[in-house]
């Protein structure tokens, strides 16, 4: 067995003038969940298409389970399960017919690998005679995952499986992925939702075709460079605008019901309290807070832009 399930080395890809990927490198371990996190247009889909042998990179090498994505595309297509963005299902076929079809073209049957999909499929099995086009977003997502899993792939490539799906379905989906990991399947998944990073073993933050950082979510958060404080008060709108122009603060971003303020150098809680008082705010709460992946992402975006 190769050391890593997926190895990507110096991959670049352009569409005409547009650089979709610039010198991307990383490895994915066996049976881990690897998250590729970044906004639309960051190059996630392009990278996944290269991994599934659908696109040839301009330069660089990538292997999946030891198979080169360009030369050994036939083997790659046997061992990967791929779920493209926009769940690619046949909307005029029923749930069961879709699953049957994907099982057949991979030369297997539903029965043979039912154990793999059971936990997911039981949730949609009551609707197995329903056409896929009439399913809700969450159910389509589950069916698409079942279809990608039915041939027992070694590597599962999921392109934005949670986009456009509500918070409940998203949570359930990640619970399913955690269970699949136990079955010795390597999962590489892309998402624009930063809060999903913590559910991965390793994540790569990607923006404009470049990887900004790769590590475990905990280490990325640990590496956050500045002291960070959580500030909240009654007039959030004004507070945010003023904190953005606070010379001792590096950045101020709204996070839910509070504002995350990153301070420069040795400045800290006291300076924030003074500043808000000076601006006439009352009942302001200031607390140190741990960074989130989203904080890290924004900090990295800013340093990248400054370069």
């Amino acid at each position: 067995m190769p050391d890593y399930s997926i190895i990507i080395q110096n991959i670049s890809k352009s569409y005409g003038q547009v650089k979709a990927l610039t010198d991307v490198s990383f490895q994915v371990e066996h049976s881990e969940i690897f998250g590729l996190i970044g906004p639309d247009g960051a190059g996630k889909t392009t990278l996944f298409r290269i991994l599934t042998s659908l696109l040839i990179p301009d330069s660089g090498v990538a292997t999946v389970e030891g198979f080169d994505v360009v030369k050994s595309y036939k083997q790659i297509r046997q061992i990967t399960g791929y779920m493209p963005g926009r769940f690619s299902l046949y909307y005029d076929l029923t749930v069961e017919e879709n699953l049957n079809f994907f099982a057949t073209i991979f030369g297997t049957t539903i029965e043979e690998n039912y154990h793999l999909i059971r936990d997911i499929y039981v949730q949609i099995e009551p609707f197995k005679k329903r056409r896929a086009g009439n399913l809700s977003g969450g159910m389509k997502q589950k069916l698409a995952l079942s279809c990608a899993l039915i041939h027992k792939p070694k590597v599962l490539v999921l392109d934005e499986p949670t986009t456009g799906v509500d918070a409940v379905s998203r949570k359930e989906f990640w619970e399913m992925l955690a269970k699949l990991k136990e079955q010795d399947i390597t999962i590489i998944v892309s998402t624009p939702y930063m809060d999903e990073a913590s559910l991965c073993d390793h994540v790569a933050l990607i923006q404009k075709g470049k990887i900004m950082t790769i590590d475990t979510p905990a280490k990325i958060i640990e590496a956050y460079p500045d002291p960070l404080y959580k500030v909240s008060g009654p007039n959030m709108f004004n507070l945010l605008n003023q904190l953005r122009n606070f010379p001792k603060a590096k950045s101020a971003h709204r996070f839910g019901d509070s504002i995350h303020v990153a301070m420069k150098g040795d400045f800290g809680q006291a300076e924030i309290e003074d500043f808000t008082k000076e601006k006439g705010h009352e009942e302001i709460q200031v607390k140190p807070v741990n960074a989130t992946i989203e904080d890290s992402f924004m900090a990295l975006m800013n340093t990248n832009n400054d370069k």
Partner: protein, 243 residues
């Protein structure tokens, strides 16, 4: 923000055959507020928005949008609202200027007025150099921000935003919300749906739809207090999972 309702919904029912998409909805949206309209997929949000925009007729119920009756005055409603969604954006093969001229033209603004407002907009956003750029050549973040600016270009009283920030990077997402706040400050009522629960916190009031019904409607703080949780994510999960 006032407590004057600009959208009044009483007993809104919408059925498709036997399927009840909206089951006796009752709510009011106040003038100038940012109203978050949340719900799981298939809970009936899109159906309700389509009705409020005058694109679809309810099965029954009394509805008033911007002072106009939803059954008889849909044309007047359409003049007074703006709409933007993640899917519906600007024309990619037209320049920014052409897009603005087109949309503003639909609402009958004069050329002089269009030019004045366009200069204003480009100056506020500091994007004078984008005026003659094709929309297709701009990054997604800008497209979304511009789509919003165009949606409120005719100064509607209410703007409906259907998942406006899907797939955008976190910084752009916050810039987008700056624009929303700006518009709300200018007196435009914001009616917004989102899958980002932190964005729910940015709303003045939030309603959560489950299976065609509004299960909860309050300020984010009020909802968190009622359900004894620390963030909106948990409020949503508690409500949507209970079903």
């Amino acid at each position: 923000m006032t407590n004057k309702p600009i959208i009044k919904v009483e007993n809104l029912v919408k059925k498709f055959g036997n399927f009840v998409a909206n089951d006796h909805l009752n709510f009011e949206v106040y003038e100038g507020e940012i109203f978050g309209f949340l719900g799981a997929n298939g809970a009936g949000k899109t159906t309700a928005i389509r009705i409020l925009c005058g694109l679809s007729t309810p099965t029954s119920g009394n509805l008033n949008v911007a002072g106009f009756d939803i059954y008889k005055q849909t044309e007047l409603i359409k003049r007074n609202i703006g709409y933007m969604s993640q899917k519906f954006s600007l024309y990619e093969n037209l320049t920014l200027k052409e897009n603005i001229r087109f949309y503003a033209g639909i609402y009958g603004l004069s050329s002089k007025e269009i030019n004045k407002r366009m200069d204003n907009l480009l100056e506020t956003l500091k994007i004078g150099d984008l005026r003659d750029k094709l929309i297709g050549s701009l990054p997604l973040g800008w497209k979304q921000k511009l789509a919003f600016s165009v949606a409120i270009f005719h100064r509607p009283r209410i703007v409906f935003l259907d998942e406006p920030t899907g797939g955008v990077d976190p910084i752009t997402r916050r810039q987008f919300w700056d624009l929303i706040y700006q518009a709300a400050n200018d007196g435009i009522t914001i009616f917004v749906t989102t899958h980002y629960m932190d964005e729910a916190e940015y709303c003045d009031r939030v309603s959560i739809m489950v299976d065609g019904r509004i299960e909860a409607l309050d300020t984010p703080a009020g909802l968190k207090k009622t359900y004894k949780v620390s963030n909106m994510d948990e409020v949503f999960l508690k409500l949507a999972r209970a079903s």
